[in-house]
């Protein structure tokens, strides 16, 4: 069974220069999509990843990460749009760091690309009708 999960990996400084993502692909057949990352040599780092693969591979991959000292958290926050409240003004467009909002050509409605969202919550208070909600 295929699974796809958004997780946050916290690296200790000693692991920052390891080719961890490469091993997830090569040895565990996992696909990854980096949603957000902060990695600076010689200091701690984190990556928000969407990890996709067979359940068995996913579990093995997570065990591998834990074993080498990566702290894993589920990205449990989820930003959703309350469609009743959104007025499609577009105030969110330049606030979102990952470009998760786009204007649909023609209708000029604001599209929310949930797959690009990293749940950073920047849009929550930037939205005048407060249509963006954080769910746990």
């Amino acid at each position: 069974m295929k699974v796809s999960r958004k997780i946050v990996l916290h690296f200790p400084a000693r692991l920052v220069e390891e080719a961890i993502a490469y091993r997830l692909v090569k040895e565990y057949n996992l696909q990854f999509n980096i949603l957000k990352a902060s990695i600076i040599p010689d200091s701690e780092g984190f990556i928000v990843l969407e990890l996709t693969g067979e359940q068995e591979d996913y579990d093995r991959g997570v065990r591998f990460l834990t074993k080498i000292g990566v702290n894993i958290e589920a990205l449990s926050q989820n930003v959703v749009r309350n469609e009743d409240k959104c007025t499609h003004c577009g105030a969110c467009l330049t606030v979102c760091p990952t470009g998760a909002f786009e204007i649909e050509p023609g209708t000029r409605r604001v599209l929310f690309m949930h797959d690009r969202c990293i749940a950073c919550s920047m849009c929550l208070k930037a939205c005048p009708p407060r249509a963006m909600e954080l769910h746990f």
Partner: protein, 406 residues
């Protein structure tokens, strides 16, 4: 052949009027030319939906037993202060009012989750609102305190009355400073990291009738989902700003004071909004039909986003200090592309005015007329034009000298 409003109304009643929105008219004029289109089209509908802070409501609650008069009372609606310095039980609430308990910007930027605009939205939604008032008693109005739920269906009169709506063009806000600022045009990133505009451009009512040839006092309009009227020129009415050759104002120019029955309005078109670090407001939906009385009027409705310039203003220094400086000009077509090129940089753009909702309003107005449910009104008197010499003046600041010894 010029048409009259009576002739167009007769066509609307007969279901024969040709009504198009201000976006559709652009293509029709391109294809058929102005002369032909002016014969074919009877009405062009416009729309805009954006925060309009100078909006408010007034209503009459009916008399209690025993009677209370709120004339000098402290009056609150869901803890938001209202104004009741009128005859006994008339109450007015402004869109930007905040509960006294709101922390404002004490921890900057404040959230401003709830205020007058939200109370108006809840009232229009049919929700109960808590009225509380305390005052002094008199022989004829003995009651001193009142706390009760009120509902729009029980109010004697409920009227939306806005001092200033539907600005004819507006600023594009940027921030040239090194830190993020929080404004009524939203969050502005440092070093011109974004640009925010707030205008429906080619759909905007007053940009389709730049010289106020048809839009005047007494014009019937779409207001908040119901119908209303233009009551007066809006406050800060300023027709004498610089204009393009075609007459389009390059800055905020005319404004409208609008009035309508709140009981016929809908929360979809009256929406409380929160501007982080700034305050609260009310997004208002306004749509105005433009009768095509002659070719000149039609030609103006064919205005496109390419033809409408907007002025870029720095909101980190020039706006707050009320300096006249203008950084530059861009068109709404450029703004709507998602990026503007300015000072050799690409600046991402965002809008506070909902174009899709503006279009929806123009289409509702069109539908109302197609069904014969909305007739045009003849303005009672025109709005002041450029010949009026009317100009929006800054405050004549005259410091008050206090005598410290008294």
């Amino acid at each position: 052949m010029p048409k009259t409003i009576e002739e167009i109304n007769a066509k609307i009643k007969a279901g024969k009027a040709v009504v198009v929105n201000a976006e559709e008219v652009i293509g029709i004029v391109r294809e058929k030319g102005i002369a032909r289109s002016a014969v074919d089209i009877d009405v062009v509908t416009t729309g805009t939906f954006a925060p309009m802070c100078s909006s408010g409501i007034y209503f009459n609650i009916g008399h209690s037993k025993p009677r209370i008069k709120l004339e000098a009372a402290r009056t609150y609606l869901n803890d938001v202060p209202a104004y009741s310095g009128f005859a006994a039980i008339d109450i007015m609430l402004g869109a930007t009012a905040l509960p006294e308990s709101d922390p404002r910007n004490k921890i900057h930027p404040g959230d401003f989750n709830y205020g007058g605009g939200h109370v108006i939205e809840e009232l229009v939604s049919g929700k109960d609102v808590c009225l509380s008032a305390a005052t002094y008693g008199t022989d004829c109005y003995p009651r001193k305190k009142l706390e009760t739920w009120i509902n729009i269906r029980d109010l004697n009169d409920a009227v939306l009355y806005n001092f200033r709506n539907a600005y004819q063009n507006y600023n594009v806000a940027v921030n040239v400073s090194d830190k993020t600022i929080y404004t009524y045009l939203g969050i502005l990133k440092p070093r011109m990291g974004n640009a925010v505009y707030c205008c429906a451009g080619q759909l905007s009512p007053l940009l389709n009738d730049p010289w106020y040839k048809t839009i005047g006092i007494g014009t019937r309009v779409f207001l908040g989902g119901g119908s209303g009227y233009i009551a007066w020129p809006g406050t800060q009415f300023n027709p004498s700003v610089p204009r393009t050759e075609a007459g389009i104002p390059k800055r905020g120019a005319a404004t409208l004071s609008l009035i309508g029955d709140l009981k016929n309005m809908q929360p979809r078109w009256l929406r409380g909004v929160s501007m982080q670090g700034y305050g609260v407001s009310l997004s208002v939906g306004v749509g105005i039909p433009i009768p095509v009385l002659n070719e000149e009027i039609l030609a103006h409705t064919a205005v496109t986003d390419d033809d409408i310039p907007a002025t870029i203003i720095d909101y980190s220094r020039d706006y707050p200090q009320n300096l006249p400086d203008v950084l530059g000009e861009v068109t709404y077509a450029q703004l709507r592309s998602g990026r503007i090129r300015f000072n050799n940089r690409d600046i991402p753009t965002a809008s506070l005015s909902s174009y899709s909702r503006a279009l929806e309003i123009a289409n509702i107005l069109k539908e109302w007329m197609n069904q014969g449910a909305f007739l045009l009104s003849q303005p009672v008197t025109p709005l002041p034009g450029i010949e009026s010499g009317l100009a929006f003046k800054p405050l004549n600041y005259r410091p008050v000298e206090r005598n410290n010894s008294s």
